[in-house]
């Protein structure tokens, strides 16, 4: 196993799939000559040429539209959003086109595309550049929504996303791009919709994905010092959701805290909480708690940014509450 950063893992996934299948191509702002705003596409334009790695104007709606149209006629586009904040400008293409043409045509059309890029907060990039919209995408039938938290998951899931025949929204996290982890050397992929227990524990279940899963692992280490064994469940894919994995864990621990980087109101964590209370009603020894970002736009100042985000300490505090400590 090689140790790779998530950046390298994502780059490998695209590079391998592009080498394997000539129908795969990438487009987006600065993905080519500039090697990617966050260097995820480093080296790809040199390998595959500027038709398969296409720099676009700053025009998110048509970036997504190009992906949709090309996918309709058999290609496998990967549309990079420089960040998912800008995907609001492409949302109609994804929600009203990518997600619906198969249905509206009675199954005649498919849209095997991936829209990917960083989501969530970076470092002090403020309100317009720090948003987490996964609950919006996950709300929409017709889409698959993936949010990896490790380099291995990132590579294995992105390869599946590229090969899958449905429109996949693949949300990365800038803060995780330098995160290192072991990635198999041999060819592999991880099926979409399969969650993973990132840490076993008997006392409480922490459900989280992407950056928040890392936050939960940090919290779990702190809790271990106090003798509390937290189980960290990472669904990895939000739609379809591997709910059984979550239920099994909660039935074991009887306690559940859901952690996410999004805003609290109707965040994806609410969906998990709702399903857990319904499916684990008798197993729950305490109400389900949620740890989210503050219910305000992201502030710029470092002190406020820290206060805004879900921190391990807040997770620990929530765990104390569900354990009635």
């Amino acid at each position: 196993m090689a140790t790779l950063t998530m950046r390298e893992a994502l780059n490998q996934a695209m590079s391998e799939e592009m080498a394997r299948d000539p129908n795969v191509f990438i487009l987006g702002e600065e993905v080519g000559a500039y090697q990617g705003a966050y260097k995820i596409t480093q080296g790809l334009v040199a390998k595959f040429g500027d038709w398969r790695v296409r720099d676009t104007p700053i025009a998110e709606e048509v970036i997504a539209g190009i992906a949709v149209g090309a996918a309709f006629i058999g290609l496998r586009p990967i549309a990079e959003m420089m960040t998912f904040n800008f995907s609001l400008l492409a949302l109609d293409m994804i929600v009203n086109h990518a997600a619906k043409y198969r249905y509206m045509s009675g199954g005649q059309i498919r849209c095997p595309m991936v829209m990917r890029g960083p989501s969530g907060a970076a470092a002090q990039v403020a309100a317009q550049h720090s948003q987490a919209f996964e609950s919006w995408y996950a709300n929409c039938p017709g889409l698959v929504v993936v949010m990896p938290s490790t380099p291995r998951d990132a590579k294995g899931l992105l390869k599946s996303a590229i090969r899958d025949d449905n429109p996949v929204v693949f949300m990365e996290n800038e803060v995780l791009y330098n995160l290192k982890g072991e990635v198999p050397d041999e060819e592999f992929h991880i099926p979409l919709g399969l969650g993973e227990v990132k840490r076993e524990g008997k006392d409480v279940t922490l459900v989280a994905w992407s950056r928040s899963a890392v936050t939960c692992l940090a919290a779990a280490r702190q809790l271990a010092d106090e003798g509390v064994e937290a189980e960290v469940v990472d669904p990895r894919t939000l739609r379809p959701l591997d709910e059984d994995l979550i239920f099994e864990s909660v039935r074991k621990t009887g306690r559940c805290v859901v952690v996410e980087e999004g805003w609290p109101m109707a965040g994806f964590g609410a969906e998990i909480s709702d399903r857990v209370q319904r499916n684990c009603f008798d197993a729950l020894d305490a109400p389900i708690l949620r740890v989210t970002s503050a219910d305000v736009p992201m502030p710029y100042a470092k002190t406020l940014e820290t206060a805004y985000l879900p921190q391990p300490a807040k997770v620990v505090e929530a765990v104390h509450q569900v354990l009635y400590r």
Binding site: G74, L75, R102, G106, N166, G193
Partner: protein, 390 residues
């Protein structure tokens, strides 16, 4: 264009016209629901342009899409069934009037989002460049769509990257109740192309021949030089925007004046005068077409509604890359199929002209009728049907 082709296109325009007149009745009878946008008056644009497409070319359009599907050869029975929400509909009753698709014929059909399909058309053009074929994309939209950001973004990249897409504005002078001069800062819509350095043309959309000439050049430009074109086809919709629109924003005079240059009447004249068809030929084809439309209605009456389970079908493609244990709790994933659905071809039309008229041999096999142009009953017939906003 040879004589048969000229006659075939006449029949096609007439079929669209009669088909939609019947749709209007069925809508009033409550057999068709949702929105119903009729193409009546604009037939020459779609028929002329699509008649030049190769079988492997692509078509993508907006919600006023009945004419395109018929012109591209989709069985009108499957279209009327779709309009009536039947399981035999081209989209299995899931799309309705705004969403006619026929993938095997390269028809990516009707989009309900104004301007929304333009970026998609550009994407099809980009895919063609990647596949290095010489296919082209025809993209139809209304005059209202040119003010959407999507139009701008799509045209810029199409020009920048030389995408083989022909963008055709169906300028029928109104976007719902808003006339183009109240929506666009420039009067000549094709001039919008100047901002992208894209070839741009204006054409009389009521003249099928003119449409074929201009679109023909654009298709060649796309096929050979990969260059896009923006075409403004000046046309007119006789009916309201949709069935619920009485069309108060236009005068009776305006509508009647426009109807004088009816594309079907004009083509009928041409057939009589230049191709030397007899009025009988035209009357006969009208009867054939009416019979064919009734056959569609009969087909719909025998067609079942979609079974409730089918609601969950056609959301996803079953894929080996999805972990089914999790996914299958969701009925939409359970119902997902690996393959795309191909609309089944229906048995050939049995539509016959009512017996009292012996079926005539195809126009082509008959020598041009001797007697010159006769007074034209179709005129009255057609005009009668062209009431505003009914």
């Amino acid at each position: 264009m040879d004589r048969d082709e000229a006659f075939r296109l006449y029949r096609q325009m007439l079929l669209i016209r009669r088909f939609e007149e019947r749709c209007a009745q069925l809508y009033v009878e409550g057999k068709i629901g949702g929105f119903l946008h009729l193409y009546i008056g604009q037939e020459a644009v779609g028929v002329g342009a699509i008649s030049l497409m190769r079988p492997d070319d692509y078509l993508i359009a907006y919600y006023r899409d009945h004419g395109y599907a018929i012109a591209r050869g989709t069985d009108p029975r499957a279209l009327l069934a779709e309009l009536c929400g039947k399981f035999t509909g081209i989209s299995r009753g899931k799309g309705g009037s705004m969403h006619f698709y026929d993938a095997p014929r390269g028809n990516f059909g009707g989009d309900g989002i104004v301007g929304g399909h333009l970026p998609v058309a550009a994407g099809m053009g980009y895919g063609i460049r990647l596949k290095q074929t010489d296919q082209v994309v025809l993209c139809f939209f209304g005059d209202g769509a040119i003010n959407e950001g999507a139009f701008h973004e799509a045209l810029n990249v199409s020009a920048l990257w030389d995408l083989p897409v022909v963008y055709i504005i169906e300028n029928n002078r109104y976007g719902m109740g808003t006339s183009i001069d109240r929506a666009s800062s420039v009067a000549d819509l094709y001039q919008r192309g100047s901002a992208y350095g894209i070839p741009r043309r204006e054409v009389n959309g009521m003249d099928l021949m003119a449409v074929r000439t201009v679109v023909g050049e654009a298709i060649e430009r796309a096929r050979k030089d990969k260059r896009p074109t923006l075409i403004e086809a000046e046309t007119y919709r006789y009916r309201g925007h949709s069935m619920s629109d009485p069309g108060k924003y236009r005068t009776k005079e305006e509508v009647e004046t426009m109807m004088k240059s009816d594309p079907i009447l004009a083509w009928a004249n041409r057939l009589r005068e230049q191709e030397r068809f007899a009025q009988d030929d035209l009357d006969l084809v009208d009867k054939e077409v009416l019979a064919q439309v009734e056959e569609c209605v009969a087909f719909v009456e025998q067609s079942p509604d979609p079974p409730v389970e089918s609601m969950y079908e056609d959301v996803y493609v079953r894929s080996p890359y999805i972990h089914m244990r999790a996914a299958e709790k969701d009925p939409a994933w359970r119902a997902a199929t690996r393959e795309d659905r191909v609309p089944e071809e229906l048995p050939p039309s049995q539509a016959r002209v009512p017996d009292e008229h012996p079926t005539a041999p195809p126009a082509s096999e008959r020598r041009p009728s001797e007697e010159g142009p006769a007074p034209d009953p179709t005129t009255a017939a057609l005009q009668a049907t062209a009431k505003v906003g009914s």
